[in-house]
Symmetry: C4
């Protein structure tokens, strides 16, 4: 069989990951692919999904599947969001504009990172042109609360529909590849949302990661749950707390005004040897008892992973790195392809598991091995 | 020791698998050996058997072993069937004729696939010449119920003794090797049972797997358990439901008229990360409580695997890919050798486990590790 | 550091195994090192020991250790026997004579295999010259009971002190390396205990293993527990049943007159995927409740393995292959070195675990992980 | 990216280990890195930490972290000690002087080994010049109790603040690399604390390890718990018992006058297949119920390992080999770097886990997987 007879496009999200190093500088690849310390949690996120077995139901009419769902009352064409990831212009010149257009073209919600290389207003404008899928904005609380408030006001004004507060990053984790590379934001790239504040550059340090130094100088490590209340008073946007790994913390989020939580270990980039997100999901959905919506990120690479997360109580999942691999591969079209493959897998997975709608994805789909 | 002094024939079913790529086109090998997504379930089928430990009984008179059993009242020389597999002429020019002759010569029942490259009538005729071992027919329910009914009538007329309804394939799983290869049925091969209907060809697509497109256009993804009742009214052949992985579904099969179930994950080719069949067998045999016969396929490669499945409640096992490896290796004689090796292993395994008959293969043979 | 400055002798039993292939023909190495089917049980014997953790006691006076024990009332300098293994002259020209001299020089009991390449009388004579350590004789019951009886009588006459009846071999397991090699007993070697009966040769077959064919023609696969009673009436030697892997079978051995059992899976050479012997030992010692002595073989390679087996209720362990590696390495002196290393390790292990005598090796030494 | 643009210093303790062989003779590397028998326990120490998952708490004010703790009433800047390790001048010419200066410069307590290559008085003097961090002295009880007593008196006179009695070494474990190397103390190095007693040299033996022979001749293998009482009467220094792996032994230590225990398997160098220290820690802290202080060594390589040990009840941890790797790398500065990296990781780990002080490192940080 000669090469031209085969189909050589990436067929799944892992293919995109394998192709990404060709498209990226070493520093960018290391930044995106890397994680904290020994990468234990990074790998565990994947392994934990792979260990779960699905119990498919047979002889259900699955000729029509309804993949749609809703999170925080917002309807979505499938239970998938774009997790916030930083510096898209490091992956592709079109950066966040390409990403949001791809999301919009599929009706999906992108959570824009505070650390975007495109101003939030420009992203919102591009989104409005592409489609009506709402945008959410990921927020870090800065030591300078005035600056924080101004960013929130700008997001609100630009039409963002929810505020995703990252709570697992009083500091950034120790990502050794970034330290080795003395990570900095390349010439021409900036933290665009802070343009003109004197805080838009991430310079190359003599040692260590420039990003970690940047974050340590900017972010407030003294946050407590009362700050969630403060944030809720600041805006009409619903607040979603991202970075929860314990049931008691999810309950605290609820008590302090959050409307949702994202179960996340920050892609293994914060505390290494944190549990895989799918492993703690049951504890969290049980603790909140449906009183707030639960989204999960971390290791989602296959349609069956979405089935597993939803079966264990998540309203939706979010993907981070795969969006970047698609973006690096081919800009907007690359991201669309990533999303289309995952949607195709999820739709087929629902059919093969006997689920005609997302409501049919119930806990009994999860196999509990006998001891 | 020089080469000619050693015995170089394949000694077990894994040897046949190792030799198969030499005998097959890349596309055929990939089709037979492949499975869905990441091959998790494919590998798990084998691993799960390998993790089970057998507790042999000593000092039982095993000088004579009776390997025979019965399934659906049909006596069999050993608890082994040929699982339905597609396109045997892609493995060997003699195709299903060679396979059925090998089965018949050993008194074993072949389940002919709907997707055979030889018409069911020709296979039945060859079988009748070879021996009296009954044939079973594997059925897909087509969107066109008239076509479905005509195939059932033809199978009945040709003397098939049971109808094996595949229920795990509203669509075909995503087998990436087939997508990469743009799988099609080579010139000269056809879906012989549909000859003359305009649905006998599987063409090469521009992208994707031609088989998946073919199946999506032909099969009915809206089947429900009522269709089993309908099928039972259509024929006097007992109906066996293939593709069950849950106890509740096995009970539903019983309630809707089935006489047996085949515990199967379609060789890992449908929903990836489905459980290994041997891991769900106990749940299923417990649920049906002997009210219908349970057959298992998936990962059976050693005589001890048959012991394990029978000890956990299966009436028999079925093997799929090993038949194809034997067929590719040497046509009818190759399939006979595969079967003879497995029979030899099973017979010896019974002796070494202290079982003089299949009835002696009881649950206490399975070792339960202490915690 | 130059080579001559280091100590290059084998330092442990695994070293002897690594060196053995240099000393043996391929056929002999394959025969000794091989096992049934996929070698699952062979490997599991070792892995199971390696998974067990020992809980050492501190601050016990271990300046003097008493390694001695007794089995069947026979005192032994340490809880170690030589398991019966076949064809020692295939490993070294001195064969069983070298082995028994090494055993005797250390006060250890050798269990002579029925399949020795030296007549049992010659072995007994050599043993008597070397030391006073009693010999035991391993017996297969032949189809020809007269022949069986004559062998028992000869063993008794030659001074053997116990009869070890192998019960796990109605047939021999399928050892694929032997089949590939078309195993036979090389010229000049014979089953010496059957010299002159016409059953002393093991010829090379056209296919398969000559040993398996030999065994199938000679051994009685119809044995039942009543044959243990028969054997007990035949001789005053105590009968020990070798090849037990279940508690109920150990109780049956007791009920039919045996004085001891050897927990053994025949070194993984009979039913593959049988449990590791150390994994079933607790069930067996619990079932017999001290009413008969339990010996274990299978995977013992380190002094700590002996500690583990004794802590879990064994009176002693037996080693098979390591004796052959020592024999191949350097005849009698090689076997002595194997035994001396193991004794040194066991003695040190006792000291480090806080055991001044074998009685101190109690079940609390075994770590039970919390769940 | 060119090499000079990256940061090439060791970034974690494993980096120091990887670099160490370049700085050491083969014999020294083998001695430091080696362990008993098959290195099962050595590896298990690390693996066991890596299997534990931490449940971080979010939204705790961690802008200021208090890393300090106290052990035996002695305050420490972080829960870290230097475990006693032998022969520092084999790693670096400055030997124990460099080590103690590094410890002192960070306010950390070094436990000086009896087998130091620098006299305890010289180490104490160097410590006094560097800082006020107290020193502890590790003691072996010699067969010659007068010699033992004189060493204790000297330690007391030199200002050591605690006596760490090693109880897991009636003999030294079988470290095969040392046997292979015929380990000896190189010219110019001596067991400095025994200078002038005729017991200061460790000569190269004809076979085996010179160290093991040395230890066997010198140490008392008849110690019992009463000797702890004796030691307590001998000195006002608190006695800490090192080498405990069982709850009952920890209780015995308490009953015989010890003020603390160090949970240790001697870095895997004594009884191989002993449990990982972190795996037995819960049993031990539960058994002593806070009545004495528990320190743990064995496999601590990451800041998160300290979190895990403290969460499971340890007051502090000790590190051994990493100190030697730092010493070999760059003397005092190398050791400082090792400590600084670990402190940085621990501090960050506390922040990311939501712990503002060591008191906040509670058992609920440990993830218990559901079954």
């Amino acid at each position: 069989m000669t090469t031209q007879e085969t189909f050589d496009e990436p067929l799944n999200l892992m293919d995109f990951e394998r192709l990404a190093p060709e498209k990226l500088t070493q520093m960018a690849w290391d930044y995106y692919a890397g994680a904290a310390d020994d990468l234990v949690t990074l790998r565990d996120n994947r392994l934990a999904f792979n260990k779960i077995r699905l119990r498919p139901r047979m002889m259900v009419d699955v000729s029509q599947r309804d993949l749609s769902t809703s999170v925080l009352g917002q309807s979505m064409p499938m239970p998938l969001l774009f997790a916030p990831t930083a510096f898209h212009r490091m992956a592709h010149p079109d950066g966040e504009i390409a990403t949001v257009r791809a999301a919009g073209s599929r009706g999906l919600t992108m959570i824009l990172s505070s650390l975007s290389t495109t101003p939030l207003e420009d992203v919102a404008q591009a989104a409005a042109q592409a489609a009506t899928a709402p945008l959410w904005f990921q927020l870090y609380v800065y030591k300078d609360r005035g600056l924080t408030e101004s960013v929130v006001r700008r997001a609100e004004a630009a039409g963002y529909k929810a505020l995703v507060l990252t709570v697992d990053a009083p500091y950034f984790g120790r990502r050794e590849a970034d330290i080795r590379n003395r990570f900095f934001l390349p010439d021409g790239l900036e933290v665009a949302n802070l343009r003109g504040t004197g805080k838009e550059d991430i310079d190359r340090p003599k040692g260590g990661s420039g990003l970690n130094a940047y974050v340590a100088s900017l972010l407030d490590a003294s946050l407590t749950w009362k700050d969630v209340n403060w944030l809720c008073t600041l805006t009409d946007m619903p607040v979603i707390v991202k970075g929860i790994l314990r049931g008691d913390d999810a309950v605290r989020a609820l008590e302090h005004g959050a409307k949702g939580v994202i179960v996340s270990n920050h892609g293994g980039r914060q505390l290494d040897t944190s549990p895989a997100t799918i492993d703690v999901l049951p504890e969290i959905t049980e603790a909140v008892g449906g009183k707030l919506d639960v989204v999960l990120d971390g290791g989602v690479r296959r349609g069956t992973d979405i089935l597993k997360a939803v079966a264990l109580g998540a309203k939706a999942v979010a993907i981070g790195r795969p969006i970047l691999w698609g973006l690096a591969y081919n800009g907007e079209a690359g991201v669309q392809r990533v999303v289309d493959l995952l949607r195709e897998e999820f739709s087929l997975g629902m059919a093969l598991a006997g689920c005609a709608s997302v409501r049919d994805i119930t806990p009994d789909l999860i196999f509990q091995p006998r001891l």
